[in-house]
């Protein structure tokens, strides 16, 4: 099936006109500077980046072996596709992008399929107010508290009645436990940041990507060669499967370079 393409000509306001909400608020660097999160690991201490010269071949091989995260997503729900989440008109994209990454990590590890409830995370962080934030904030919360299944906190619910001990006991099963990397870099280093994102995606590690141009946070699944020598990302959005190509799109050119990015590597086992 053809990809749904978002490129430099795409007007972000077009999505607003369709009633699609976003919710990215740029990170408060004075309060939460890069690498300050509990459990975060400095990239340079961990991972050599995969050189750009290898990207094209690796992408082709991953397509051929159907070993991309998008391929894994397509069979994640007991052989059926993992449906994309739905932030339902509220500005909680920054929690949905991280939740999607946790679900993708579980799928890659072949853990039982569970739909998680990002509204629980956002409600808890902002005391049930509909407010924007950035992906790393929800990543930090999920590394400390986890995220509950939808059977404990129904999707899109803002009800305080679900904010009970049992819910958060369940959430602990879905904690991010180790080594999530803070890929945020200064604007002048953004090319480097994209190399790190690409390395993660080629390693089948989903990445939470915040885009200021879009005012939106999404989960990146695959590195894509959009034209010879040019690369973008295939993202999983939180606007249901009716948007894009089954909830996904390919970001091209500058649109693909995130302003903030972080990645969970290890989650609680099941």
């Amino acid at each position: 099936m053809p990809d749904y393409i978002i490129n430099d000509q795409t007007d972000p306001n077009y999505f607003l006109s369709l009633g699609r909400t976003r919710g990215l608020v740029q990170r408060d660097y004075q309060d939460r500077f890069s690498g300050c999160y509990k459990g975060s690991v400095d990239w340079s201490m961990d991972i050599p980046t995969i050189p750009k010269s290898e990207w094209s071949d690796r992408i082709k091989e991953m397509e051929s072996s159907k070993s991309r995260l998008s391929d894994i997503r397509n069979r994640a729900n007991n052989g059926s596709p993992m449906k994309s989440l739905d932030q339902n008109g509220q500005g909680f994209c920054w929690a949905y992008s991280t939740a999607a990454c946790v679900m993708l990590l579980r799928a890659a590890a072949n853990m039982p399929y569970k739909r998680l409830s990002p509204h629980a995370v956002a409600c808890k962080i902002y005391n049930f107010r509909d407010r924007g934030a950035w992906g790393a904030l929800s990543m930090e919360f999920m590394s400390e508290n986890g995220i509950p299944e939808e059977s404990f906190w129904p999707q899109q619910s803002m009800s305080r009645s679900y904010d009970i001990d049992e819910t958060w006991e369940n959430a602990k099963k879905y904690r991010i436990t180790e080594g999530w990397m803070d890929l945020d870099l200064n604007a002048y280093d953004r090319e480097m940041s994209f190399e790190q994102v690409a390395t993660c995606l080629l390693s089948r590690i989903p990445v939470v990507c915040d885009y200021n141009w879009w005012g939106h946070s999404v989960a990146a699944m695959d590195l894509v060669e959009t034209s010879p020598g040019k690369f973008g990302t295939r993202i999983l959005n939180s606007w249901t499967d009716s948007w894009g190509e089954q909830g996904t799109a390919v970001l091209e050119g500058d649109r693909a370079i995130p302003d903030g990015a972080c990645a969970a590597r290890v989650i609680i086992g099941a």
Partner: protein
Amino acid sequence: MKLKTLGTLLCLLFCAQLNAQKFDVTTVNGSISVSNQNVIKTQIFDENKSLIGEVKEESGSVKTSEQVVKILSVDTDASKVSVYADDVNRTPVVLPSAGKNRWLIPNAQKLWIEVKIIDFEKSIFDSKRIVVDKSDLPDKDPVGPSVAPIDLPGLRVLMVVESEMIPSYPKNQMDALFSEKLRLYLNEKCVKSKGEVPDLAPEWRMMDVDTKFEDTCDLVWCKALKRPMKSLPWIIISNGQTGYEGPLPQTLDEIIKLVEKY
């Protein structure tokens, strides 16, 4: 000769000299013997061989003990070699010296180690970073075919990686590990979990070696992850009666061929 050409030549000569310098960082398993006539130091390790306590007592006799360690060795022509180690909490850890350009790495925790070499006369300036995890006694062999690594009936497969090292693993091996063909094969061959529908996940996993589990370690995968692994990526195959534990084969065909035996 034009100044620009001369500059280029000098630059090439300088780069060639830099490239010619040998700089290798290696680690090997080992152990050290500690003896003391007056003070006996006893270190206590838990079942994972993590150091959990230390007792010192006065004594008049000579006592000896043996410890498992790793030895960091730096092969370089540089005159100055510096080693900096941090633990998982980024707390600096001092590595005891073990002779020229050799250091002992305590085998109790995961460490991030940076090696810097400097020699102004030879124009050597370089650094390397490595991650060293704790390991089990080096004399433990993989489980033989007469032992089931997982004491439950049915085929179960666990593949273990260090996720932060995936970019440096052979790409064919990683393509195989995440490939649809292997996943479909394991879905078909492995037993299904006893959870409620639709949670009938086939009993195979691909996990990071540092994966944690909630509360108790009664899950089959938690127990399996605690088994000794000599290297990563690793594979554990069990049919309840017999099994295999060893390095993950390099190709998809080799992995499937290995699982087929059980």
